[in-house]
């Protein structure tokens, strides 16, 4: 094919135009588009879409695409793969111990940069965010992530059943035992209802550990402390409820189905579990909420995710991301988030706002969760904690199944966990 000089010039011009239109930044006129990866499933998904749409409407120069990535496990895998491939989202939801790995890989930008920046938060606005939440977002003294949907553990109980039996929700471990005894029912040699259920999970054990004055790590953070006498006592208490007093049973699944069916009267769960419990119970009885029963110290375990801004994003995208994060963690948005999803409001002003107070008057059951925020504890936000959780989980299973004594299981787990910690840079 013969291409003459004129033809060549035409082709060159066309190629140049095409390339220019592809390379020219969108900022030169168009809105800044950013992506937000999250793991909010079920009823939480439309809630996050609503928040995002509101922000997009209020900020015509920015378009936020909230993209559901699957369960948290899947989100983590996709996130790490995306970072490795060099194409991460602008904002991601993440657990604090994921953040540790990303910080070491220099994949996220410290939130503090934006907080202290020109469009940042005043000292007052910053301290308005609950200190315990800020603590979990802080690594080596720097605040890297922003708390977004945080929850904590509380006790759900069958309020109707309690009223019928003239019982009050348990405040201490002893109360838990006594109430469970009162509510365990036998019919024809079979137990038809248990007072409590023991899910052999890390969190059930950690709750017993911290309400008994125990701790996750020894001071210095080089060794674990969950196999202390406090921890062993806590684990043994759970085992005894099942084996000795026979007022609880072991369940390897979510407890809301059994709770709704009347098989169990109480269980430990985090706040967003209320939506699932209500759906299962379908109005058959009232669901009461109480703080976790304690032995030595009132405590509960903080859970839930933060948000972080990825380092690969362009400066104007990062600025837009910060605007979005400021919006969704602002007083109004976090109050609405709390009322819609039952996750904790991240700000004191949100909890004390008129909107929240009116809501609490109509829905007083949420007070127990909000009050528990004052005694909430955070697990270590280190990358190794994910695997240490699995190690603890297996130890709890072994002890609950009777394969090892509580002390043996926890001590073996501590050895494995300490080995992991010693490899930490």
């Amino acid at each position: 094919m013969q291409v003459g000089r004129r033809g060549f010039l035409r082709i060159a011009a066309a190629v140049l135009l095409l390339t220019a239109s592809l390379i020219l930044p969108a900022g030169a006129g168009g809105p800044v588009t950013i992506t937000f990866w999250h793991g909010m499933s079920g009823v939480l998904n439309p809630a996050i879409d609503e928040l995002t749409n509101d922000f997009n409407k209020l900020n015509p120069g920015i378009v936020v695409n909230a993209q559901y990535q699957g369960t948290y496990g899947t989100l983590n895998q996709k996130l790490v793969a995306a970072v490795a491939a060099g194409s991460p989202p602008t904002i991601t939801q993440l657990f604090p111990n994921w953040a540790d790995q990303l910080i070491q890989a220099k994949a996220i930008v410290p939130m503090e940069n934006f907080i202290k920046g020109p469009d940042g938060l005043s000292a007052e606005e910053l301290s308005d965010i609950f200190p315990i939440l800020r603590q979990e977002s802080t690594f080596n003294g720097v605040m890297w992530t922003m708390p977004f949907n945080k929850s904590l553990y509380i006790l759900f109980y069958n309020e109707d059943l309690f009223k019928q039996n003239n019982l009050k929700p348990p405040a201490t471990w002893d109360d838990l035992l006594n109430v469970s005894k009162a509510l365990t029912k036998e019919e024809g040699g079979r137990t038809t209802r248990y007072g409590f259920v023991v899910r052999p999970t890390t969190d059930y054990f950690l709750l017993m550990l911290i309400t008994n004055g125990g701790d996750f790590l020894k001071p210095g953070g080089k060794e674990v402390a969950f196999n202390s006498p406090a921890g062993v006592e806590g684990l043994q208490f759970l085992i005894d409820l099942v084996q000795k007093q026979k007022v609880a049973y072991v369940l390897n699944a979510f407890a809301d189905a059994d709770f709704a069916a009347g098989k169990v009267a109480m269980y430990f769960v985090t706040n967003p579990g209320l939506a699932f419990a209500r759906a299962a119970v379908a109005g058959r009885f009232e669901i009461g909420i109480a703080p976790i029963p304690y032995k030595k110290s009132r405590a509960t375990l903080l859970s839930g995710t933060d948000v972080a801004i990825m380092a690969k994003a362009a400066p104007e995208q990062q600025a837009a991301a910060w605007k979005y994060i400021k919006f969704v963690t602002g007083t109004t948005a976090t109050t609405r988030w709390f009322m819609k999803t039952f996750y904790m409001p991240v700000r004191r002003s949100a909890r004390d706002s008129t909107l929240a107070r009116v809501y609490l008057q109509q829905n007083p059951e949420h007070r127990a969760g909000l009050d528990s925020l004052a005694v909430a504890r955070t697990a270590p936000n280190i990358a190794e904690w994910q695997e240490i959780r699995d190690i603890i989980q297996e130890a709890v299973e072994e002890a609950v199944l009777g394969k090892k004594t509580a002390k043996q299981a926890l001590d073996d787990a501590a050895v494995k966990a300490n080995k992991l910690l010693s490899q930490r840079k």
Partner: protein, 313 residues
Amino acid sequence: MPALEAASGPGVIPRVPSRRVRRLLENLEAYAFLLPAIVVLGVFHLFPIVFAFFISLLKWNMIDPVRPYVGLANYVQALQDDKFRTALGNTTYYAFVSVGLAIPLALFFAVLLNRKLRGMSWYRTAFFIPHVTSLAAAAMVWHWLYNPDQFGLLNYLLDKVGIPPQRWLLDPLQAMPAIIAVSIWSSLGRDIVIFLAGLQSISQDYYEAAQIDGANNWQLFRHVTWPLLSPTTYFILIISMIGAFKIFALPLFLTGGGPISKTLTIVYSIYQQGFQYFRMGYASAQAYTLFAIIFLITMLQRRVLAHRVHYDI
């Protein structure tokens, strides 16, 4: 070649390619047809296999820019790791029991299905359906069947016979047998089809000759069917064993590796290390260890069995 001679000379540009050039063009054409397959196999099979070996010599968490070379340390760690050893034991248990049960069962059913009875194609289809069912979907249903309450179908049936409800997938001793049952249910169809093909390739002449000599059914099987089926049996044994050592999907869907790691298999361990704890180097080392194990077992099978295989001339 006359045309070539006439065409060459001063001022004449040869239009017909020489024999060598023509051969080269033919080869290029062949390579062009092969190219898509070569690219796909190279990029998605060959490259990962080779790259994984290099990764296994590093300590790498996929996003950390620091990836120190650690030589064979990952391999040493794998062989000393309690969890990996557990996975090895579990997988070996699974492989020998599931193959040991599945092959005789498949042979038994294949012999039965080899008759020309009415509706035989329906029976064969019934046996083959589990094999074409999505494993994930089947696992969901089996998970429900194995429900540890009295609401699970299996426990419900046991209750009718007066046996108390079993924990199945939650019981440390029952979990692996439960998985083996599902695996046999799933793969029986494929094994039966392969055995059927083998059975039908046995010439009727042998059976007729044996029957003339007064052989009964058992003797027919023992002296005609079994020896002439040996190539098929050998083939199924090898591929079943290789597949059994790679079991992953069933523990993933049914038990999550538990309870207390009783159903943790080698590939599950690789997945955990690589994609949950992001220890790419360690996971790759475990993968190559698995490769070595399967290789050894296959070689062992060859050594023991190959000379017992009768190939029909």
